[in-house]
């Protein structure tokens, strides 16, 4: 527990507290009066209200669309399952700018909907909500589906044998068991969508703004640190409240579960109902996830002389202006290196935290649990500016160091690791551990023999998340010292920042490569998972 606490204190709490203090204490005098003044401004209230309701709506919509997906991935066996699971995670790494482009091509002017039915959704809240589903589908499928696949279906069957209807059996047996992971997924989607920045900006247009865009505006555009600090405090309180509610509901529902190997629980869809469900999920994935990605792929091949590989070829040649782009292979390597380091950090920190949280109870520990989630809900610009004014003294002058990037990425990865592992760890029957102890196993041995086999799967799911988050991370990455070492998303953004057909085409081509790299990396993780788990149960 000491390590994760120190990590968060140093790389999150301290920087954020420092920047908030900087904003709230001007010339030695605290500006608490600014709270009332800021929070009574109608435009700020509008921002708060919009942030809240769009996040709630996005979360609800994501759950409605993705929970059937989680079921399908957990219980059905079908060819290409691993590939499809990787594909639904790809949106997670896509630079939001590119996704905005793709959505505009579908729901905007001259887009698919426009041409078919004359419907345009750009600059409406619908475009924002759909994009949020696109980004967060994998959160639900992976966190909920991961646990669902390990639930023993025989318990539900037993309830049915005892006379319960299908619905009652599901409601009384499966739902309570899934509860914590559904709540965890909903929480993460809520925090992500409440903190949504680029999606709101691109698809909503200047008329929409969330707390996150407002903090950015106050910090970067107006340099009004006091207002930004007030809003950061509001964000803290709001996120804290959400986390507290979450902690309460989860605690009531958490029970030890009988976990089995996922291979035992999935089978081919049977009967009309299951096939309809299966088909419905496939259609929703194609429409909401594959189609937007497809637009980017299509554009990457669409050259002025017809379809071709010109933009991919151009990636290999040296930019006419010299240092702008390094060879494509380098950006892939840079991205992978950062993502691997960040994943390792997130797994160590998150793993230790999750282990500590399962073992101990009490208010302090629960508070710490909530604390670990805060980075998902706190503005990136606040953390980034906080880094600048705190980590500026040797030996911790990290402002120009590459390690800052994986550290910042790990901050976002850790909550995923904790949230994916915790339901599984807590589901482990304490009696198993006790039995091992009674039989003379050391705590370490008990952990290795009891927890690890059950947790390995969750660990790999968590690693997949942390990896995907890091691969697609942009905000912290543009921060760094070495412009000659860009990552894929950074290179995409730079290309899009310049006029010219080649730049635009290359941005599309690089995005396509990012998709492929992400999918391949996740497939490798899947492979790791199936290789190891076989024969363990």
């Amino acid at each position: 527990m000491v390590v994760p606490v120190a990590f968060f204190a140093l790389f999150f709490a301290w920087p954020v507290a420092s920047i908030v203090e900087r904003g709230l204490r001007v010339d030695g005098a605290w500006q608490f009066g600014r709270f009332g003044e800021t929070l009574s401004r109608p435009e700020i209230l509008d921002v708060l209200w919009f942030t809240l309701w769009q996040a709630l709506a996005s979360t609800a919509l994501t759950l409605v669309i993705a929970l059937p997906g989680a079921y399908v991935f957990a219980r059905f066996d079908f060819p290409g399952k691993g590939l499809l699971r990787a594909v639904v995670t790809v949106p997670f790494v896509m630079p939001t700018v590119m996704v905005g482009t793709a959505f505009l091509a579908l729901v905007g002017r001259g887009g698919l909907l426009d041409e078919l039915w004359g419907v345009r959704l750009d600059t409406t809240v619908w475009a924002i909500l759909l994009a949020h589903v696109f980004f967060n589908y994998a959160v639900v499928v992976r966190t909920v589906g991961g646990l669902w696949a390990q639930l023993d279906p025989r318990q539900e069957e037993a309830a049915r044998v005892l006379g319960a209807s299908r619905w009652t059996a599901w409601r009384t047996v499966t739902l309570p068991a899934l509860g914590p992971s559904v709540a965890a997924a909903a929480l993460m989607v809520f925090l992500f969508t409440a903190g949504s920045f680029a999606v709101v900006q691109i698809l909503g247009g200047p008329a929409y703004s969330t707390l996150e865009t407002e903090i950015y505006r106050q910090t970067v555009d107006r340099f009004d640190l006091t207002t930004a600090a007030v809003l950061t405090m509001v964000q803290f309180v709001a996120v804290g409240a959400v986390l507290a509610v979450h902690a309460r509901t989860v605690r009531r529902r958490e029970t030890a579960l009988k976990l089995v190997a996922p291979e035992q629980t999935s089978r081919r869809p049977r009967g009309a109902g299951q096939w309809v469900l299966f088909g419905g999920v496939l259609v929703s994935i194609v429409l909401l996830l594959v189609l937007p990605l497809g637009v980017l792929v299509e554009r990457s091949f669409d050259t002025p002389e017809g379809y071709g590989l010109d933009y991919y070829r151009a990636l290999q040649s040296v930019d006419p202006s010299g240092t702008f782009l390094v060879p494509m292979a380098d950006t892939i390597r840079n991205s992978l290196q950062y993502a691997l380091v960040a994943t390792a950090i997130a797994l160590v920190i998150g793993g230790l935290a999750a282990a500590a949280l399962t073992r101990r109870a009490g208010r302090l520990v629960r508070g710490f649990d909530a604390l670990l989630m805060l980075p998902l809900g706190v503005s990136a610009v606040t953390v980034g500016f906080g880094f600048l004014i705190t980590l500026d003294e040797p030996p911790l002058d990290l402002r120009a160091s590459w390690i800052l990037v994986p550290l910042a990425q790990a901050l976002v990865g850790v909550p995923f690791v904790v949230r994916t592992m915790l339901p599984v760890l807590r589901a482990v029957d304490e009696r198993l551990r006790e039995a091992a102890a009674v039989l003379g196993a050391s705590p370490l041995r008990a952990w290795r023999e009891v927890d690890l086999p059950l947790v390995r799967r969750a660990l790999l799911i968590a690693a997949g998340f942390a990896f995907a988050v890091s691969l697609g991370e942009f905000g912290a990455t543009v921060f760094i010292a070495r412009p000659d070492h860009p990552t894929l998303p950074v290179a995409v953004a730079r290309l899009l920042g310049r006029p010219g057909e080649l730049n635009y085409g290359q941005a599309m081509a690089l995005s396509t490569i990012l998709m492929v790299v992400c999918a391949v990396a996740l497939l490798l993780l899947e492979r790791l998972r199936t290789d190891r788990t076989s024969g363990e149960f």
């Binding site: 390590v3 001259g110 247009g205 200047p206 010299g322 230790l352 500016f385 010219g500 635009y504």
Partner: protein, 355 residues
């Protein structure tokens, strides 16, 4: 705790794993590197930076610090303990904020006699002008040729009925070309008059988006991205250098640029560099500022950052002379006035145009 050791070991092995980085640990007593902090658009060719090392013995390390506004704010936050030695990329719209906060120390660069007095805003030499760029309305040549309509040339033209629903602009609060265009209209129509002008633009169907990328690559029908996105606005606020860039990044390069510039709608930005207060290597920093206005660097700049050199002896590349235009009378504004009016104008603009 064992885990601490794991983290430490992890740090070391990953440092090694990220090979090729070759990052040296803290420099010795005499730093051989000089750190240039800039915005994300900074670019310079390797040969030119190598030339600086050859001349002075210092290696340039570039630190990109976000977009222009973000980069300046970060320097203000870290005043006294800056991230580097020299900051490049503060422009006339942000200069007063930087100067008022005292992030620069005076240094008169060698060779400033080759820079026109008009762009040397600071008499105390806390900053040195490096380049200028013009924010202008760009037009889609094909659209206007097809419609047999002459493209607009002035601010007044943009409000005329024949150009209704054709223009897309950026939100001045979020985007620097957006701000430049707003300031251009204020310079043209006066501190009060610009509001009436924007009422006319709004009545004439001006569209606003948050960023240059969206305006140019999505909405504008003349750019490569806009064509794919089926952009339907043939007029966009961009830069005078955008048409040459469209040519440069086409395969094969067309003989005529697909877009043109409405020369009477331009606002001139000047970008400055300055020696940071608290720089660890002020000696190297001074040499770097000298170098930024040297002919070598100034000649390199246009094709790197697509801006115009300030030094009178710099030569423009053929791409600029052939496809670019010279803006005769760009609008501009004193940094102090921008600092004074900026926030108020943006607020007025928002309630006028966005609401």
């Amino acid at each position: 705790m064992g885990a601490a050791a794991i983290v430490a070991a992890l740090g070391v092995t990953t440092l090694a794993a990220c090979g090729g980085s070759g990052e040296k640990a803290a420099d010795g007593p005499a730093p051989k590197t000089v750190t240039l902090v800039s915005h994300d658009s900074f670019a310079a060719s390797k040969e030119v930076l190598a030339e600086f090392t050859r001349q002075t013995g210092f290696t340039v390390k570039v630190l990109k610090s976000g977009d222009a506004g973000e980069a300046v704010n970060k320097e203000i936050l870290t005043k006294g303990s800056p991230q580097g030695d020299v900051f490049f990329g503060v422009d006339n719209t942000l200069l007063s904020r930087a100067l008022d906060n005292g992030i620069f120390v005076p240094y008169e660069a060698k060779g400033t006699d080759r820079i026109p007095a008009a762009v040397q805003s600071d008499q105390e030499h806390r900053v040195t002008p490096i380049d200028t760029g013009d924010i202008c309305v760009n037009y889609d040549k094909k659209y206007f040729a097809d419609k047999k309509l002459s493209p607009p040339q002035t601010f007044d033209d943009l409000a005329k009925p024949e150009y209704k629903n054709l223009l897309v602009v950026e939100n001045p609060e979020r985007s620097s070309p957006g701000l430049g265009f707003l300031l251009g209209t204020a310079a043209q129509y006066g501190d009060e008059g610009w509001q009436d002008y924007w009422k006319k633009l709004k009545a004439n169907g001006v569209k606003t988006v948050d960023s240059w990328e969206l305006a140019y690559n999505q909405e504008f029908s003349g750019s490569a991205g806009g064509k794919k996105a089926k952009g339907d606005r043939p007029l966009v606020v961009s830069y005078a250098s955008s048409p040459p860039v469209e040519v440069l990044y086409s395969e094969p390069q067309p003989t005529v640029a697909p877009t043109g510039v409405s020369t009477g709608t331009c606002f001139r930005q000047t970008e400055y560099a300055g020696l940071l207060n608290g720089a660890k290597n002020p000696e190297g920093g001074k040499k770097l500022i000298d170098f930024l206005i040297s002919k070598k660097f100034q000649d390199d700049m246009p094709l790197q950052m697509f801006v115009n050199p300030v030094a009178t002896d710099a030569t423009l590349p053929e791409l600029f002379t052939k496809h670019g235009v010279v803006i005769d009378k760009p609008r501009t504004m004193a940094p102090e006035k921008i600092a004074e009016k900026r926030d108020q104008w943006i607020q007025q603009w928002s309630s006028l145009v966005l609401k």
